[in-house]
């Protein structure tokens, strides 16, 4: 969508968020002089040099490997607030599984910390370095490991190195006529290894599954050797699946180096569709019914009114005739059908597969939608709905220029609680904003969509944003807001996360989620595989094992 003028966007910022053009505050230029100097481990550096393609201590590189895409991290970056933070001391780029094995051995030998990094799109604080860590922290940048070893047309599998970035993977598979079908919002930047390490989910999971449904075999290098299965089979009954320890381990147990994924032939036909519902509640009922009847288009999502209006603001400039036809359509919806423009919700769908199946699915969806009072709203709206999700991160940067802080978060919840959860969480955000004294007359922005349907429930995705330009403590307020929102999610029967993971920002909720004994089990595995705490990012369970403080004192 680059290069397309979006004339309505600024107006939306002004109308809905009360943005003031006069309050433009661009990011401060990066000030590298304040970046803390690296903690050197000369022996490790000497020994590791042959095993990496690139090794650097450059301040900017180190800084870029010390953060993900949390609102908090971006805010700190824009305001040069990293001078008192711990960041990686060294960045290395291995180029093969063998390199990684050697590097991990050396890390064990010289007692340095390894934090694996893929695309760096984490929104859980997983790339933040623990403050108390005194050993050398090495960021293991995997992006040089981006080869596709083989594609197997017979069994429909591909063996791929974990550092490959999503869009490269898709582009290269496409050339061969295949796709993984995994399409997270971060597709442009995130890596295969990152998907596995965080239990990622893509938009088209209905057709292709989530990452855990796609992997056939994983190689992970740990401090005690490589974990891998000796066969690549569809299913195996050999005790608990070791893949389950790797999926969602968030870099705490080892480095994922290679993955065998299922692939599919490119779909014969792809079609977009959209439906307008008189209100969000009806839309949810419709989504539930679609799941009940198991008519799963590749993707089907429901946007609430606030997000719908946001989507409209992103539309490119239109000619006279287009505007006229838009007006006619609007008249039809609001006047003839009696829909309240302040209440309508938009459902977007993607259909993929053989043409006849796509057509059947589309007509099924339209039939059910009619029962819930929906009107079809055309292909273009459907497509735009998907564009929106890719553009959010860019738009947040734009918003930050005007003093806004914004973030997204997600959860999964049983069907019977979807609508209450969304209503309550939005209400809580508004309430906390009021209590925290966020500027009067500037309503906090809160919107939600239902993005994934399952048999027993759904995944809900929230955006929230607020004007922080005149707050003395924007990050504190932001953190209070995020915690309250998450607590409300949990109180409403939602999960701590659907696909963003735990990292550090949600670690406080882990024990409550999986019980004390459950957390003990995770800690036991960590102790067993990594007693020295080489993979010391402190994600998931918090820091387990030594951080070097003791040793340095001795």
């Amino acid at each position: 969508m680059a290069g397309v003028a979006m004339p309505y966007l600024m107006q939306w910022f002004k109308d809905e968020l009360g943005a003031r053009v006069s309050e433009y505050s661009p990011p401060q230029p990066l000030d590298l002089s304040k970046i803390p100097s690296p903690v050197r481990n000369i022996e490790f550096m000497e020994a590791a040099r042959p095993w990496c393609k690139v090794m650097t201590e450059d301040a900017e590189d180190r800084l870029m490997h010390g953060h993900g895409h949390l609102c908090e991290e971006i805010f700190m970056l824009r305001n040069n607030m990293y001078h008192d933070q711990r960041i990686p001391d060294l960045v290395v780029y291995p180029s093969s599984h063998e390199d990684v094995v050697q590097l991990v051995n050396l890390a064990v030998k010289y007692n340095v910390v390894l934090i694996p990094m893929g695309g760096g799109t984490s929104v859980s604080g997983a790339l933040m370095c623990p403050k108390e860590e005194t050993r050398t922290i090495v960021s293991l940048d995997m992006t040089e490991m981006n080869r596709i070893h083989w594609i197997d047309p017979e069994n429909l599998m591909a063996h791929i190195e974990a550092g490959i970035i999503g869009q490269d993977l898709e582009r290269r598979l496409e050339k061969e006529g295949y796709t993984t079908g995994h399409q997270p919002d971060s597709l442009e930047f995130s890596s295969l290894g990152g998907w596995v390490a965080t239990r990622a989910s893509g938009m088209k999971k209905n057709l292709y599954g989530n990452i855990e449904d796609m992997v056939v075999r994983i190689k992970m290098v740990t401090a005690k050797g490589t974990i891998e299965k000796s066969c690549q089979v569809p299913r195996i009954s050999a005790g608990p699946d070791v893949h389950e320890f790797i999926l969602g381990s968030e870099g705490t147990l080892g480095v994922i180096t290679e993955v065998t994924l299922k692939v599919k032939q490119l779909p014969e036909c792809t079609k977009y569709g959209s439906l307008i519902f008189p209100d969000f509640e009806k839309g949810i009922k419709f989504m539930q019914e679609v799941s009940r009847q198991k008519i799963y288009p590749a993707s089907i999502r429901l946007m609430d009114n606030a997000q719908l209006r946001f989507g409209l603001a992103l539309k490119p400039e239109k000619g006279l005739i287009e505007r006229f036809t838009d007006h006619i359509k609007q008249m039809y919806i609001t006047r003839l059908r009696g829909f309240n423009p302040a209440k309508i919700a938009l459902c977007t769908a993607v259909f993929e597969g053989p043409t006849d199946r796509v057509n059947k699915e589309e007509s099924d969806i339209n039939r059910i939608a009619a029962e819930f009072g929906a009107i079809p709203a055309g292909e273009a709206n459907g497509k735009n709905g998907y564009l929106l999700t890719f553009s959010i991160a860019y738009l947040r940067d734009l918003g930050m220029n005007y003093g806004f802080l914004a973030e997204s978060f997600e959860t999964s919840v049983p069907w019977d609680r979807v609508s209450d959860l969304i209503k309550n969480v939005k209400q809580r955000i508004i309430q906390v904003c009021k209590e925290q004294g966020i500027r009067d007359g500037v309503p906090p922005y809160g919107s939600a969509r239902v993005t994934q349907c399952y048999d027993t429930g759904a995944c809900c995705y929230f955006y929230f944003g607020f004007y922080a330009g005149d707050l003395p403590n924007p990050l504190e307020v932001y953190s209070i807001l995020e915690t309250s929102a998450r607590e409300e999610v949990l109180a409403n029967g939602g999960s701590v996360s659907h696909h963003h993971g735990i990292g550090k920002v949600r670690a406080q909720f882990l024990e409550d989620t999986i019980s004390k004994a459950g957390k003990q089990a995770l800690i036991a595995v960590k102790h067993g595989l990594d007693p020295q705490n080489i993979f010391g990012s402190g994600n998931l369970t918090g820091v387990v094992g030594p951080t070097g403080t003791l040793k340095s004192k001795l």
Partner: protein, 666 residues
């Protein structure tokens, strides 16, 4: 310089006074002067953000189709063998009987009429504006629960009237069924938003489900604020009744169940200078049953229109956010594991939260109460009657009244004089009529003619007036109760530990009589002792408390003695005559009546406290025995017997020591 500074303080005082005047408003003349125009005024209350507009019969239909009701009906089908159609019909009929038929037109008409009547019988209705504004602001954001104090039938009317005046959505009101049977009146109340609940429906599961769902649907959808009385019924005694938890639990379940993100609770305090039902309530307290509510009764009661009931003050208190208060106390996740389709049960931690909240609401209500000088005069007159003087010189009465009022104000009481009256004392005496009157020289308390049979006539003649004055005095008891207990204990100086210990003991004993926040005796004690020390009423040295102001001490003791003596008498009767086995047990009501008779015989001449034959106080004295596990009372209150006579007699002995000066006199 000195002159300038005094001037400026003078100005400040003036502006403060003005501010105070600005902060209250007279509801009688709010908005249009003409009642007709007022009825037809522009009324656009803010709507709750998530409300779906529903007409009353649609609400009933949704209740009928709700998960809860469907489940209960299918369960009853299996259990009782009745067909689903039968149960559906029964459920519809119950809903028909229960539901409101809210109609704005009718509400406007009745509102106008009532305003006209009020202008005749009420001097003014003052409203504290700040609280109401906050209420209006929140009404669009959160579902609201309105919990007013309940002293009079007028409470219903006043709250709805208040909300209508200030452009807030008028509430639906959970009311007792007593009114429903009044021809015409029941129907009118329904149209003003009242819905009716049977007084007792014990184990009727269908009724329970329908009533729960009907209440909750209004909270979840936010059609209107839900109003109910935490005291359950009108307090006849002038002080707050112990809270009832059932309705509050039902109202908070949508929050526990995460159907709504928060519920705002607004305690509303309505303070009456004189309640319309005063006489009836006094008779009830003596044991004369209340007449059944009926339309003819209402028409006969039109005599009330000839009287003046003085002033009414309304204050919407600090609005409590259930979410804020539940932090760390209620874990909503626990309920999230029960699907919506299954009827959830109330968890123990939710129960104790509701319990605590109910007391908070009551204490907030009390804190916002206004006291009128006539309550103080009642206390003054009671003290004189204690010395067998049924009439007092008017100047003496006035100076004593002023002294009591000053004391109460010092203790933090919001006491308001009627600035418009020429002669304060005349007005105050008039507010105690017909029990009290004055002829310009003296103030007389009248003994009324006897009408009952089970009490000896001379006793009865006194106690009608005594109970009546006692009721009025009770209106400020919540302010002095803690320090009155302390004054009682400090009849001679005591160490801190002993004072605290006896304070907590007496507080336990009086727990049914007054509202005490559970589990906070230590902080209540510290706060009140601190206040006494600051006011130089009590001294503290060498770890010993000493009450130094004897006049105040005697006054405070005279306030609490009637209750303590009544408890003592009642218990002394119980230890000798209360049945000790289940077979011989008797009902609470008949036991109380026996105690009443016993006491009236005991004291026929010398002196009697009104409380001693006040059935409410007597009943409380027995209920507390059950709380202390000395007596067993079953749920229906029909089988009462003593289970632990040994500890009971020990306790009486100990209690007698605590209140020694009195027992010495006896």
């Amino acid at each position: 310089k000195a002159v300038v500074s005094t001037q400026s303080t003078g100005e400040e005082e003036e502006s403060e006074e003005k501010e105070e005047e600005d902060s209250v408003e007279n509801l009688l003349f709010h908005g249009h002067r003409s009642d007709l125009k007022w009825c037809m005024k522009d009324y656009r209350p803010p709507k709750y953000t998530y409300v779906r507009y529903r007409i009353p019969c649609a609400i009933r239909e949704e209740v009928l189709q709700s998960n809860r009701v469907r489940r209960v009906i299918s369960m009853l089908c299996k259990q009782t063998g009745r067909s689903q159609e039968q149960l559906d019909t029964e459920a519809s009929a119950i809903l028909e009987e229960m539901g409101h038929e809210f109609s704005m037109t009718i509400l406007r008409c009745i509102g106008g009429l009532i305003r006209k009547i009020f202008k005749q019988i009420i001097t003014e209705v003052t409203v504290h504006k700040e609280g109401i504004k906050e209420l209006r602001r929140l009404s669009s954001q959160k579902p609201l629960l309105l919990i007013p104090t309940h002293r009079s039938y007028l409470d219903f009317i006043l709250v709805t009237w208040l909300l209508y005046s200030y452009d807030i959505k008028t509430p639906v009101i959970a009311a007792g069924q007593d009114f429903m049977f009044m021809k015409g009146v029941g129907a009118l109340l329904r149209r003003c938003g009242a819905y009716f609940i049977r007084r007792s429906f014990g184990k009727d599961k269908l009724y329970w489900a329908l009533f729960t769902e009907y209440t909750q649907t209004h909270i979840i959808n936010g059609d209107a604020p839900v109003e109910f009385f935490i005291e359950g019924t009108r307090s006849r005694t002038g002080k707050s009744l112990q809270p009832k938890f059932g309705m509050l639990t039902i109202a908070l379940e949508p929050f526990f169940d995460a159907r709504v993100s928060d519920v705002a609770i607004c305690p509303i305090t309505l303070s009456y200078e004189k309640t319309v039902e005063e006489n009836l309530h006094v008779r009830e307290l003596m044991g004369i049953p209340k007449p059944k509510e009926s339309t003819t009764g209402l028409i006969k009661a039109r005599a009330i229109l000839d009287n003046n009931y003085g002033r009414i003050h309304v204050k919407a208190g600090k609005i409590l956010s259930v979410y804020d208060m539940a932090v760390g106390k209620v874990d909503r996740k626990v309920r999230a594991l029960v699907p919506r389709a299954v009827i959830p049960s109330v968890h123990p931690h939710e129960r104790s939260f509701v319990n605590e909240l109910a007391y908070k609401v009551l204490i907030e209500q009390q804190a916002n109460a206004v006291v009128f000088p006539c309550s103080a005069l009642a206390a003054v007159l009671l003290a004189h009657i204690k010395n067998k003087c049924w009439s007092v010189d008017i100047c003496k009465a006035e100076s004593e009244l002023m002294w009591v009022c000053d004391l109460l104000i010092k203790l933090g009481c919001n006491l308001i004089w009627d600035k418009k009256q020429h002669s304060q004392i005349d007005h105050v005496v008039h507010m105690l009529a017909p029990v009290v009157s004055s002829d310009g020289g003296r103030v007389y308390v009248h003994k009324s003619p006897p009408t009952t049979d089970h009490l000896s006539s001379s006793v009865f003649r006194q106690c009608n007036s005594l109970i009546s004055l006692g009721r009025r005095r009770n209106e400020f008891m919540h302010i002095v109760i803690h320090i009155a207990i302390i004054a009682k204990i400090l009849f001679h100086p005591k160490s801190r530990d002993r004072t605290l210990n006896q304070y907590s003991r007496l507080r336990d004993i009086l727990q049914y009589e007054f509202i005490f926040m559970p589990d906070s005796f230590q902080s209540d004690f510290d706060r009140n002792v601190q206040k006494l020390i600051e006011l130089k009423l009590v001294s503290f040295s060498n770890n010993v408390y000493k009450f130094i102001d004897m006049k105040v001490k005697d006054f405070l003791v005279s306030l609490i003695d009637p209750f303590l003596v009544t408890y003592m008498d009642s218990w002394q009767f119980c230890i000798s005559y209360m049945p000790r086995t289940l077979q011989h047990s008797q009902s609470l009501k008949s036991l109380c009546t026996r105690i009443q008779t016993y006491v009236s015989v005991l004291y026929c001449e010398p002196y009697l406290y009104g409380e001693s034959i006040n059935l409410n106080v007597i009943e409380n004295s027995i209920l507390v025995l059950a709380k202390l596990s000395l007596v067993s009372i079953d749920k229906g209150k029909s089988q009462v017997y003593c289970i632990d006579p040994f500890n009971f007699s020990n306790m009486i002995r100990e209690f007698a020591l605590t209140i020694r000066p009195i027992t010495a006199k006896l």
